[in-house]
């Protein structure tokens, strides 16, 4: 099926004559010019009394958008196709397959006789690259990035410089030695070539590393390096290009180059940060226009990239800085849906870009003017590999002196092996002026060979190597709240110890930054009450939301994604206090979720009395359905809990809820015992509250059973406490499992919330006499 579509699309592409793609970027003028002409033609024809054309063919009118869409469609269909062939996609990384497809398409186009389109550099730099970088920057794991920043910078700056000079210098040597054809290649050209080819490419790294799920440290090291070396590449490129015509470089030029590097990188970051802050500030006011929130994120980031490019600063670094700076503030301001939208749009665009880049790389290989020179190409390849290995090993030796977590040789191997080259290098070479660089085609050929080699050979073999070397993989475990608490605890602890030692280290500055952030920045950039929300609370709420979503989404069956086979409940955890002080057993989250669901379906009126924490006043937001209600109900229940505990009543909740479809579905396996009751059959004075549900009469029944059999010590001490229990408790409750619970009588209900009797929702006040 996919093959058929593929062939169809290919046919269309070839048929329409794709030379336009290569030469008509942004040349809407062309089609616009054609537009009025065709209009004129049409009006002319009506004058000469031909039969009225029922169906006419006006392809030129839509040529440009049509072709662009066709290419994007092709790319997406390819992506679709690969994932439908699991065996193939597990051996060969996607990027390789896409390049092969590009080669095929290019070959086909050439066969037909047309000139295949080439990956034009401005399309690449202006349209294809930014989405990928923004996606990477927005979701950059800041914590790991900053922890390893020193290492990453070392690799990016020093490593790239070393690579550039090593490759450039040695190639020059080879060229001189080789004689005849290559002697025209001067030192500067070689150095320029070296600097272009030495940069690790973020697109290729992302494409390959994403599939091998390597541990986060290595991922961030290689990926961070690929992002940050852009500044170095830009500077070296401009430096050598400027002076290639002149032919010599003096010491002042070198010094200026260093200054330029600082300007380029820091300038890029500053530009990005400014736009990021603007975006954060704008998002503060978007509470009434939620729909365009994602647009601001994208626009500001793109503007940051373009602004940086205007001044020849590092656009990539600007984009990363913008995304990283704006993210914490924007996410606190925007709605949940906007967040999802941003995430998915970014992923979609970057995925499409990525696919297009690789396909075009393949097509350009077929198209581009080539000049094959065995010695040059092979020498380039060998020197690149050797330079990378030497660079990584040497740098790691130095870096390990300063790191707490040393990089092992396995790590070093992966870092060296993961140094893939990609489309950025290709585009940069393509931009070279043939007058200044007569050997440009040779460079092009060499670069394409290196790219192919790294992507195919290294890309394909890295996965089995990772398995072979048993490199640590990414841990898929979810972040637990305990880990979060302790991570924060550790942060404060280490800061405290550093203060005691009088040592201004990593943690000290981080703590200072956080405090500054909290005190000044957050107040400006985050709307309303959320500016005061500590990270732990935010994390907790996020977790709650996630669990609530999981609960709701887990339609059929009692098997839930986060099912933990445990029957522990809060009841178990409560300390054995004297009964007078006994606090109300806390409801676990799962139970509360169920209560919320029932409440939501049954209650007609919601109470909006909220406590100190205002984050939940999202009621006014028409785009946020459901979640705020949940949270409000939760607050309400907490209030009730307070009331109840104040009255010194001992409340236990009987058996888990019965088979009503909503409830049975929503039960987490982790705590079917939240109602953890005492065993079986005591009839104690109990109040049974029947929550109105689809299956039961809407009423409150008070069942008073005078208990005679051994009531538990807790209850007897309290004497006539309110207990809600199952009216027909014949089965022992020793080991409750979810299955057993399903067999309970339909009369059993969630009886926690005494004040919520039924759809005829009474006032809360009315409930109190009931409780008394």
């Amino acid at each position: 099926m996919e093959l058929k579509m593929f062939l169809l699309v290919l046919g269309l592409l070839v048929g329409t004559g794709s030379p336009d793609m290569g030469s008509s970027q942004g040349k809407c003028s062309e089609s616009l010019v054609q537009g009025p002409q065709t209009q004129e033609n049409r009006t002319h024809t009506t004058h000469s009394k031909k039969p009225f054309p029922v169906l006419s063919f006006g392809y030129d009118y839509v040529r440009l958008p049509f072709e662009i869409s066709l290419w994007v469609l092709l790319a997406s269909l390819m992506k679709l196709g690969f994932h439908l062939m699991p065996r193939l996609s597990s051996i060969v990384p996607e990027s390789c397959l896409l390049i092969v497809v590009g080669l095929l398409v290019g070959g086909l186009i050439k066969l037909v006789g047309e000139a295949p389109p080439v990956l034009e550099s401005n399309i690449f730099f202006l349209y294809l690259l930014p989405p990928i970088i923004l996606d990477a920057g927005y979701f950059l794991p800041i914590r790991q990035f900053t922890e390893n920043l020193g290492t990453i910078l070392m690799f990016a700056v020093v490593g790239t410089l070393w690579n550039a000079f090593f490759v450039g210098g040695l190639l020059y040597g080879v060229c001189q030695l080789e004689g005849h054809r290559l002697v025209t290649v001067d030192l500067l050209s070689c150095l320029l070539f070296g600097s272009i080819i030495s940069a690790v490419d973020p697109v290729a790294v992302l494409a390959v590393f994403e599939e091998i799920h390597i541990n986060e440290l290595l991922h961030i090291l290689v990926f961070g390096e690929s992002l940050l070396n852009d500044a170095v590449t830009v500077v070296l490129y401009h430096l050598f290009e400027e002076f290639s015509s002149v032919g010599t470089i003096t010491v002042t030029d070198v010094l200026l180059g260093i200054v330029c590097f600082l300007v380029v990188s820091l300038g890029g970051i500053v530009v990005g940060a400014i736009y990021g802050i603007l975006a954060a500030f704008t998002s503060r006011f978007t509470s009434h226009t939620r729909v365009i929130e994602p647009l601001f994120v994208f626009l500001y980031s793109y503007m940051a990239y373009l602004s940086a490019e205007v001044f020849h600063l590092s656009g990539i670094m600007a984009l990363i800085a913008c995304g990283a700076v704006m993210r914490p503030y924007v996410e606190a301001n925007i709605s949940h849906k906007s967040h999802t939208t941003i995430k998915y749009f970014l992923k979609m665009w970057s995925s499409v870009s990525d696919t297009l880049i690789f396909i075009f790389l393949g097509v350009s290989t077929v198209a581009g003017p080539h000049e094959w020179n065995w010695i040059f190409v092979v020498a380039t390849l060998i020197f690149c590999l050797v330079a990378r290995v030497l660079g990584v090993v040497g740098l790691t030796f130095v870096i390990n002196k300063f790191r707490i977590v040393k990089l092992t040789s396995k790590d070093q191997f992966i870092i060296a092996y993961g140094g893939l080259r990609g489309a950025i290098a290709f585009s940069l070479v393509y931009l070279l002026n043939t007058d200044h660089f007569p050997k440009r085609n040779m460079f092009l050929t060499a670069i394409i060979t290196v790219i192919f080699f790294t992507v195919f050979v290294q890309g394909m073999t890295i996965r089995p190597l990772v398995d072979l070397l048993a490199v640590k993989k990414k841990q898929e475990t979810k972040r637990s709240i305990n880990e979060e608490i302790h991570t924060q605890f550790l942060d404060h602890l280490l800061t405290g110890i550093e203060d005691i030692c009088g040592h201004y280290g990593h943690h000290h500055w981080k703590d200072k930054l956080n405090r500054f952030n909290k005190k000044y920045v957050k107040k400006c950039l985050i709307a309303g009450e959320r500016s005061k929300e500590p990270q732990l609370i935010a994390f907790y709420h996020k977790m709650e939301m996630k669990q609530a979503i999981e609960l709701v989404e887990s339609g059929g069956g009692s098997k839930l994604p986060s099912a933990m086979p445990s029957t522990v409940s809060m009841q178990n955890i409560q300390p054995k206090k004297p009964p007078q002080d006994r606090a109300l057993p806390q409801l676990s989250k799962a139970r509360e979720e169920e209560i919320r669901k029932i409440l939501r379906t049954n209650l007609q009126r919601t109470r909006q009395r909220l406590r100190s924490y205002n984050r939940h006043t999202l009621i006014a937001d028409p785009y946020e359905d459901g979640w705020n209600e949940i949270l409000i109900k939760r607050k309400k229940m907490k209030e009730l809990e307070k009331k109840i505990s104040q009255m010194n009543n001992y409340l236990t909740v009987p058996a888990p809820p019965p088979d009503s479809p909503t409830i049975a579905r929503a039960r987490l396996a982790s705590d079917p015992q939240a109602w953890g009751l005492k065993s079986a059959t005591e009839s104690i004075p109990s109040i049974k509250v029947d929550l109105a549900s689809p299956q039961s009469p809407e009423s409150v029944n008070i069942v008073d059973e005078i208990g005679m059999k051994g009531s538990q010590p807790k209850v007897s001490e309290e004497g006539g406490g309110l207990t809600m229990k199952v009216p027909s408790p014949t089965k022992p409750r020793k080991d409750q499992t979810t299955d057993e619970d399903n067999d309970k009588e339909p009369q059993q209900r969630l009886m926690r919330c005494l004040s919520d009797p039924g759809p005829a929702a009474e006032e809360e006040d009315e409930d109190e006499p009931f409780l008394h």
Binding site: I404, V405, K406, T477, S480, I481, N482, E483, I485, H486, Q488, F489, L490, H492, L493, L494, T495, G496, I497, D499, I500, C501, G502, H503, Y504, G505, H506, E529, K532, E533, P534, L536, I537, Y540, M564, P565, T567, V568, S569, M570, Q571, N572, I573, Q574, P575, K576, Q586, S588, K589, R611, S612, Y613, K638, S670, D671, Q673, G676, K678, R733, Q736
Partner: protein, 217 residues
Amino acid sequence: MGASQSGRVHMFQDLADKTGFSIEQINNLRNRFMYLTQDEDTLRREHLENISNLALNPIRRQIIEAFFDKRNLGEKEKGCLQEIGFEEFVMVLSFFRPPKPRTSDEEMKNIKKEKLRFLFNMHDTDNDGVITLDEYRRVVEELLSSYETIGAETAKAISDAAMLEVASVTVGQMGPDEFYEGITFEQFMQILKNVEIETKMNIHFWNLDKRTMQCGK
């Protein structure tokens, strides 16, 4: 002068062997100790409380207590001291020493266990060997104490959820009558095994020098 110097060097050597610091680091720490105590021999709580930067730390009380906790000083007894000497100071700080480059896996595990034990002792304030719900609640409340608007119930909810998680993960099945006392050390180790304590709970001692010494206040 010479005699006391060599005597001190000898003492430092012992300390170095015991705690794993280098002689230079111990010298620096000695200078810091003298600075904190204003040239007295023993360190008391007030000396630590005088550090202004520490005042902003939400868990400063527990940090200061940790220095005076006998359990951290290798003694089998429980309880607190009122004042400590330089040796004890260094011993507590040795918990934060980064592991040497060539440590075997076995040693790493021990180091991790020691560091976790230190953390555990910080939480377990009543020395009974388990972290009860109350103690954990207090930990969370202290963490959130720097944010004024947080109600007590949110802290309670978080700590309850955390305890529930610990219990669920470590104990698994529990009947309705069983009572979960608190987090034992083994369970503590289990829930934090993903946090990589041995690499995170470290500070660089090589950076200590005269300049930063004076800036602590």
